[in-house]
């Protein structure tokens, strides 16, 4: 990671239309469709609030417009923890802790997790519709102290729950932040095609149905609302952003593309002859809304340019290319039993379903779910999210809060965990109030991965190998060592 890895709020320089930063697998690229970016005066880059942060604080071009834990740690060291990134409100385990202690920021420094504080019990949905929670929440374990804190916790006068999540990627948004059905193939009008009987949330400002794929709990139906609420919750603005500021942020975000731009062997994905899905230019040029779980429009197109009849002995670059192609083949074609995943197995596939990775990671170019893609993969619910099981890369001391969810008798229970659930993060259920949604998280995109470890909303996978290993454990796939390596290499070039 070079010295230029960090863009500070108010830095005021100009970003060229295409920038590259070294990452764990070569380099990551960020491309601005509208040309060079003058950061001075652009509200995405300006410290608009009271804590010195800007949007860019947590969405860095050097981290594929997300934020790697490597960058977080380096920033801590360089500033001795004084960077606005570590603001008490959400850059520490709890605002009530002593902020000059490194331990008070352990979740951010260790897993790249920011505190997300949500009102509970929730009474109203993002679109203004009433919400009646179907479950109660009991704090079983609270390492951060924030859920039992008298000011910030669940028993506070203004009760909130604190969960800890990774920042999402602010790039390639033409594939995600769309109106429901606007350009998603086969969308069922106002209904979520996956969940069949569910009406998508409307953006209360535009009145249009949202694709609900922006946030990890789908709580914000539009980029504009996300920016408005993030400026309040993360930037701590005193006054709401102006319409001009909001529009400027949305306009900027809508033309950013981020992806791996070269591999460790020097292959430049922007060069002619690179595979058709790789690099930022291909993201910019490709159409959005293409369903990619089929042979006609495969999710990450073709890697034919890297195919060779035989790999010459000792040719490490050709061997890597062959490995990436095999990894894509595993991702696309290797069936396994997808089991006990709410909103995947429950939407007409049956449980289990014999399918492949692309069944769920089906939106071409980004690998999210074309239909609002929240599901309980097991990254936040026990037993799969037990930290000793899910996070072998970390030490054994629990970092995350643990909640006991008890569903009310009349509620439809969680389909695979029943009426009592132990979770680190109830996910979508904190917004919908539904027991059925406990632990469901909106799938993140698969681009620029090498630049923004760790992975999953809870940061439970420190590297791509841990991601692959999690899936293998979760679904008892039986991946060989070669298949695991191939999948990691495939994911590393996206």
């Amino acid at each position: 990671m070079g010295a230029d890895y960090w863009i500070a709020p108010g830095q005021g320089t100009v970003l060229p239309a295409q920038v590259r930063f070294a990452d764990a697998s070569g380099s990551v690229g960020t491309q601005f469709a509208h040309g060079p970016v003058t950061m001075r005066g652009n509200p995405f880059f300006e410290p608009l609030g009271t804590n010195g942060r800007a949007c860019v604080s947590c969405h860095q071009p050097g981290s594929a417009m997300g934020l790697s834990v490597v960058a977080i740690r380096q920033r801590w060291q360089e500033t001795r923890g004084k960077d606005p990134l570590f603001a008490a409100i959400d850059g520490s385990n709890c605002p009530s802790l002593s902020q000059d202690q490194e331990a008070s920021h352990s979740l951010l420094l260790k897993r790249g997790l920011f505190r997300v504080s949500l009102p509970w019990p929730r009474t109203v949905g993002p679109d203004g519709s009433p919400v009646e929670p179907e479950f109660t929440i009991e704090v079983v374990r609270d390492p951060s102290g924030c859920n039992t804190d008298p000011k910030y916790g669940l028993s506070a006068p203004d009760p909130h729950i604190s969960v800890f999540r990774r920042p999402r990627v602010v790039a390639n948004l033409k594939y995600l932040a769309v109106d429901a059905g606007a350009n998603i193939y086969g969308a069922a009008g106002p209904f979520n095609a996956k969940r069949l009987a569910m009406v998508m949330d409307r953006d209360p400002e535009s009145g249009r149905y949202s694709a609900m794929n922006i946030m990890s709990d789908a709580r914000e139906p539009s980029l504009r609302m996300q920016a408005r609420d993030a400026s309040r919750d993360h930037l701590q603005v005193r006054e709401p952003l102006t319409e001009a500021q909001l529009q400027s942020i949305v306009d900027f975000e809508s033309q950013v593309y981020a992806a791996q731009q070269s591999d460790a062997w020097g292959d430049d994905f922007a060069a002619a002859g690179a595979p058709a899905a790789l690099g930022t230019e291909n993201l910019l040029q490709s159409p959005s809304g293409v369903l990619g779980d089929n042979f006609g429009n495969p999710a990450f197109k073709s890697f034919v340019p890297w195919q060779q009849p035989t790999v010459p002995p000792g040719d490490a670059r050709a061997s890597f290319h062959a490995s990436v192609i095999r990894g894509y083949d595993v991702f696309f074609n290797r069936p396994f039993w997808i089991r006990d995943v709410t909103h995947i197995n429950t939407v007409g596939l049956g449980n289990p379903a014999k399918r492949t990775c692309v069944t769920c990671h089906n939106l071409q170019m980004v690998g999210t779910d074309a239909s609002a893609g929240w599901g309980d993969l097991g990254t936040t619910n026990e037993p799969w999210a037990s930290e000793a099981i899910s996070s072998p890369g970390y030490d054994s001391k629990p970092d995350l809060p643990l909640f006991k969810i008890v569903c009310k008798p009349e509620a439809r229970p969680h389909p695979f965990l029943g009426r009592v659930i132990f979770t680190h993060d109830p996910g979508r259920a904190l917004i919908s109030g539904k027991c059925y949604d406990v632990g469901s998280i909106v799938m993140g995109q698969l681009r620029g991965l090498a630049a923004r470890a760790p992975y999953f909303a809870s940061g439970s996978a420190p590297d791509l190998r841990a991601v692959v290993d999690f899936y293998d454990r979760r679904f008892n796939i039986g991946l060989s060592e070669q298949e695991r390596t191939d999948l990691v290499n495939f994911l590393s070039v996206l």
Partner: protein, 281 residues
């Protein structure tokens, strides 16, 4: 998992076969599902009174709703005739349970699946997954990998236009049917959209929702009753749906439910698990 061919307006419709099937041909029962793997897509089966019955194969979201291991299922169907499939006697339905053909076995088209409802609560004893059996040759509309179906390659369909409504405007009723013990009208939610569109078109004065509770006469003579709250849950869920779809300003929405059991005859029971929307101009 977006499925292009899913149609929100799909209705459960009575076929003439409903009248023709004799009680001895009917199979209404609650049992653990059994998943039989094959070298292609797996088959779903269920055991009842010592016999193995074929329900259907794995399909896409737009097809029938296959069972879930970890839950018992209510099967409502009748004998389909024809050869066994995956070792089971094939069942079919009086109702259109899938709007897409699911596939074939040994070259013969599979019958329309029976009505299958996944029971609400967990049952850990339902966990039978049989290894792939080389005797079974199943071809699904979609295999276990990526889709080859032509429907996946078509252009996006145009958005559905609201229906044209002309005077004189009359009272219209819209009926949604449900899986057993479910408040989610997975197959019939399009009726709610029709109701909302009609209400908007006529600037309805009132919209009335009534949720109902059903039961099923099982083949052993016993009665499977839906949970007492289901009529209320259906009505309230439907009210939320209509609110989200949008209703005319000033229209009065009434939400009622009848927790009394609908009568059961073992034939038309799936139709009686329902809710109605009555739109009055």
């Amino acid at each position: 998992m977006l499925r292009a061919s899913w149609q929100p307006t799909l209705l459960l419709v009575v076929a003439t076969a409903a009248i023709a099937a004799t009680p001895s041909e009917r199979r209404n029962f609650v049992a653990c599902p059994v998943l039989q793997d094959t070298d292609n897509v797996p088959c779903w089966l269920a055991r009842y009174q010592g016999e193995l019955y074929f329900l259907g194969i794995q399909t896409d979201s737009g097809g029938w709703g296959p069972p879930w291991l970890g839950h018992r299922v209510l099967v409502e169907g009748r004998l389909a005739g024809g050869p066994r499939v995956c070792g089971g006697i094939a069942l079919t339905s009086d109702y259109m349970t899938s709007n897409i053909p699911s596939g074939s076995a040994d070259g013969e088209s599979l019958p329309m699946p029976p009505v299958v409802s996944v029971m609400r609560e967990l049952d850990a004893s339902c966990n039978e997954l049989l290894p792939a059996d080389p005797r079974f040759h199943i071809l699904g509309r979609r295999g276990p990998g990526p889709n080859t179906a032509a429907s996946a390659l078509r252009s996006p369909p145009p958005p559905a236009a609201a229906p044209t409504v002309t005077a004189p405007y009359g009272v219209q009723a819209f009926t949604l049917t449900y899986d057993f013990d479910s408040e989610l009208a997975s197959r019939t939610i399009g009726e709610a959209l029709k109701a909302a569109q009609y209400a908007q078109a006529v600037q309805a004065r009132s919209i009335a929702i009534i949720g109902r509770r059903g039961s099923t006469l099982l083949s052993d003579g016993s009665l499977a009753e839906e949970i007492p709250d289901i009529a209320r849950l259906r009505a309230q869920e439907l009210a939320k749906t209509l609110h989200k779809l949008g209703l005319p300003a000033g229209s009065a929405l009434s939400v009622r439910w009848d927790a009394n059991l609908e009568p059961a005859d073992g034939i038309k029971d799936p139709q009686r698990r329902r809710a109605e929307i009555v739109v009055t101009p």
